[in-house]
Point group: C2
Chain length 144, copies 2
């Protein structure tokens, strides 16, 4: 698994309130984002704001469940479905907790989640709409 | 506040166990790190593993307190003490919760923490031992 972080996703209660903070208070500019999620393109990593209910569902967690829904996730994007499967094979062999086995997603990609030993959730994803540049950055096509 | 993310810090129960996972399972290489914390230099952002007790203390939180200690933090590093103060003045004026007013730190820097509207903790820090490159990446001097 390459030494890269693609996204940090912050779960939020109210997307408009969160955007008002990052845009209005911190002065950041929103990148083109599909409905229901807001992306900020930072220095080599994307910050995503996403309602708690969607993030929790995406990682097979639920607020109040055990292990607790952590409210955020880290994502590592790769260039193919095969690479996603290969990473899951490795971490599974080493006994990592698989929160969500990799599967096709509603947004047209392929992803799964595992936990590190302290319960920090990592999503390993292939998003066919995004390109991974040579320096590890994500290039999000502007049409979606 | 520039649109940059400098560090993601994951609180861990057992530093050796966490390092064994990131190094041994994911295959990542550790960067030169001071005692008690382990850095990984990713694509434009640093991932830090730090014991929960240290991270909680650093952000003026404690496991079990309200608002709950979240177990992770996001950091935005800047080039001077004055820039740290300017960012805190802005977010305070907009009513953000200040978890720890900026102050000199034990590691020779200057930092503070605020929360976004959903309680995600941001540290704004000046670390005189680190250089912020033009593209927003951090260059950690190798002597400490």
């Amino acid at each position: 698994m390459e030494q890269r972080l693609s996204l940090v996703t912050l779960g939020v209660e109210d997307l408009q309130r969160a955007v008002a903070f990052y845009e209005g208070v911190l002065g950041w500019k929103i990148a083109a984002s599909p409905p229901g999620v807001v992306f900020f393109d930072l220095n080599g990593v994307i910050l995503a704001l996403w309602p708690h209910r969607d993030l929790a569902q995406d990682m097979n967690a639920a607020p109040g469940t055990t292990p607790a829904y952590p409210g955020y996730s880290l994502a590592h994007n790769v260039g193919s479905i095969e690479e996603v499967d290969a990473i899951f094979a490795t971490v599974k062999r080493h006994g990592a907790k698989i929160d969500k086995p990799p599967a096709k997603t509603s947004w047209g990609g392929y992803s799964g989640y595992f936990s590190d030993p302290d319960g920090h959730r990592w999503e390993i994803a292939h998003n066919p709409h995004w390109t991974i540049l040579k320096d590890g950055r994500i290039w999000m096509k502007r049409d979606g």
